[in-house]
């Protein structure tokens, strides 16, 4: 390890001078340049930190928005005929517009609009990115949750209501917990997409993993190692995520045991 900087400098000079080097020597130089020189690994590490923070914030926001929108839209649809609440109707309309607009426009365009139009004067690119991702994710999560709520046997809600529980208690204790179990695979999918979509916030200057890689190869003019490097990091993050999801699903299946 100690002689790596020495070897790096030596072999780098060989390459610059056009002398013959073995492929291993060449790849070592590229690797060292991409990750070790000037402690560049710290930049990746910071990038991972930002990526995870942004994912967590967007996730929390997406799930919150998703649950609220899904519950509003489902409760609007489930109102007794002739007793529709006009206020709920209006909120429902707002929710529908939100879902349509967000699902109907590209993530990248939404990010650019948020970063360069709505929050033009903000310098906190990472937070703007997290906000955009959360708003985007909320639309998809709401549709996933709505599907879960609708797929549940109506008898479950009827049993809750017949016991005298009000609509929101029935949703909170009976319908939503069961729906969440049913939609966990789809939700996991959405979370993975979200984690990888954090790379898009680079376009508005969010300093996450891809931003770090771009910063490095714009200095070294060598793209292969930084890009492969972050690809592997994303892959590992997603694999950890899937593993955690598996654990959660097994825990929620507890009530299925016989």
């Amino acid at each position: 390890m100690e002689q790596w900087p020495v070897l790096y400098q030596q072999w780098k000079q060989f390459i610059i001078a056009g002398e013959a080097v073995t492929p291993w020597q060449k790849y070592f130089v590229l690797f060292y340049q991409a990750f070790m020189e000037a402690d560049r690994w710290k930049q990746y590490l910071n990038g991972v930190g930002t990526t995870l923070t942004v994912t967590a914030m967007a996730l929390a926001m997406g799930v919150t928005i998703g649950v609220i929108v899904a519950v509003i839209r489902t409760s609007h649809a489930q109102q007794r005929p002739g007793r529709r609440n006009p206020v709920l109707g209006l909120i429902n309309l707002v929710c529908r517009v939100y879902v349509t607009v967000i699902r109907g426009t590209p993530m990248m365009v939404q990010l650019l609009i948020m970063g360069m139009v709505i929050f033009k004067s903000s310098r906190n690119f990472t937070m703007v990115g997290a906000l955009s991702l959360g708003i985007n994710s909320g639309a998809y999560v709401s549709e996933i949750i709505r599907g879960g709520l609708m797929s549940l046997d109506p008898g479950q809600a009827e049993a809750g209501r017949s016991l005298g529980l009000n609509y929101f208690d029935t949703m909170r204790f009976i319908v939503v917990p069961q729906a969440i179990k049913a939609i966990l695979p789809a939700l996991g999918n959405e979370f993975i997409i979200l984690l990888k979509d954090t790379s898009l916030i680079t376009v508005i200057g969010g300093k996450e993993l891809l931003y770090a890689a771009q910063g490095i190869y714009s200095r070294t003019y060598e793209q292969m190692f930084p890009l492969f490097g972050i690809a592997i990091i994303y892959l590992i993050l997603v694999m950890i995520f899937s593993w955690l999801q598996g654990i959660l699903e097994r825990r929620l299946r507890q009530s299925d045991r016989r």
């Binding site: 529980l165 009530s255 299925d256």
Partner: protein, 240 residues
């Protein structure tokens, strides 16, 4: 106790209940029989407004429950309902299934509700399954728990919607036994069922429904002994 006046219900253009008027007295055990599609279940579900009547007035203990301003949650607390498919909450233990409603509605504290659940379970012979999940129980056990869950709200009347129709034959007996016990204790009951033996033994009045109408009503001995309506004769010849 429950008064039904000119109740009609249609789904789209299909008329399921056709101008039914009935009165259910305290302590009565009304058993509703009839061919499938006759509107028995819909009638029962209208009583606690799981189905919204198209026309008519239903009064429970002096409260007009079909009034749009009626506090339906408060009324439903006094009407227990048992479903054909049990509808236990699969994500909760038996204890939680039973105690959720009494605790959430402020009827009891969790500790009281727990003790109460165990007492009630003891009566149906399921005291030892209090921490099990519904998936771990047999059909008959699930239905007994469902009855306990409804009873935990201390209802004034119990509605049974074909409580034994989804059960294996050998499990029907244990559920009917619990229902008989309940009847003997003086509970007001409205039961939709295909169990003619139960109807005859427990019912204080039998309603025969077909095509959305109550075609004949009488105490069991009379209704089964000397049916008058041809539809009822035809029905009884098929099921007895």
């Amino acid at each position: 106790m429950i008064d039904v006046k000119n109740l009609s219900k249609s789904f789209g253009h299909h008329l399921v209940l056709d101008d039914i008027s009935q009165h259910i007295y305290p302590g009565e055990k009304v058993v509703i029989i009839g061919p499938s599609g006759s509107g028995k279940s819909t009638f029962l579900r209208c009583l606690n407004l799981l189905e919204e009547p198209t026309k008519g007035v239903i009064t429970f203990d002096g409260t007009v429950i079909t009034d749009p301003k009626a506090k339906i949650d408060l009324i439903r607390r006094q009407m227990g309902m048992v479903f054909q498919h049990f509808n236990l909450f699969p994500n909760m233990t038996i204890r939680k299934n039973i105690t959720l409603a009494p605790v959430r509605t402020g009827l009891m504290k969790q500790s009281e509700a727990d003790a109460d659940a165990e007492t009630l379970l003891e009566r149906v012979g399921l005291r030892d399954r209090v921490d099990a999940y519904p998936a771990q129980l047999s059909g008959g056990q699930k239905q007994r728990v469902a009855i306990v869950r409804a009873l935990a709200m201390r209802p004034k009347v119990m509605l049974f919607d074909e409580p034994t129709s989804a059960l294996d034959p050998e499990m029907v007996g244990e559920v009917l036994e619990v229902m008989k016990q309940l009847a003997d204790e003086g509970m007001t009951m409205v039961v939709v069922t295909h169990e003619m033996g139960f109807a005859r033994e427990v019912g204080s009045r039998i309603l025969f429904m077909a095509d959305g109408k109550v075609l004949e009503e009488a105490p069991p001995a009379q209704l089964f002994g000397s049916p008058t309506h041809p539809r009822l004769k035809d029905f009884l010849s098929k099921v007895l």
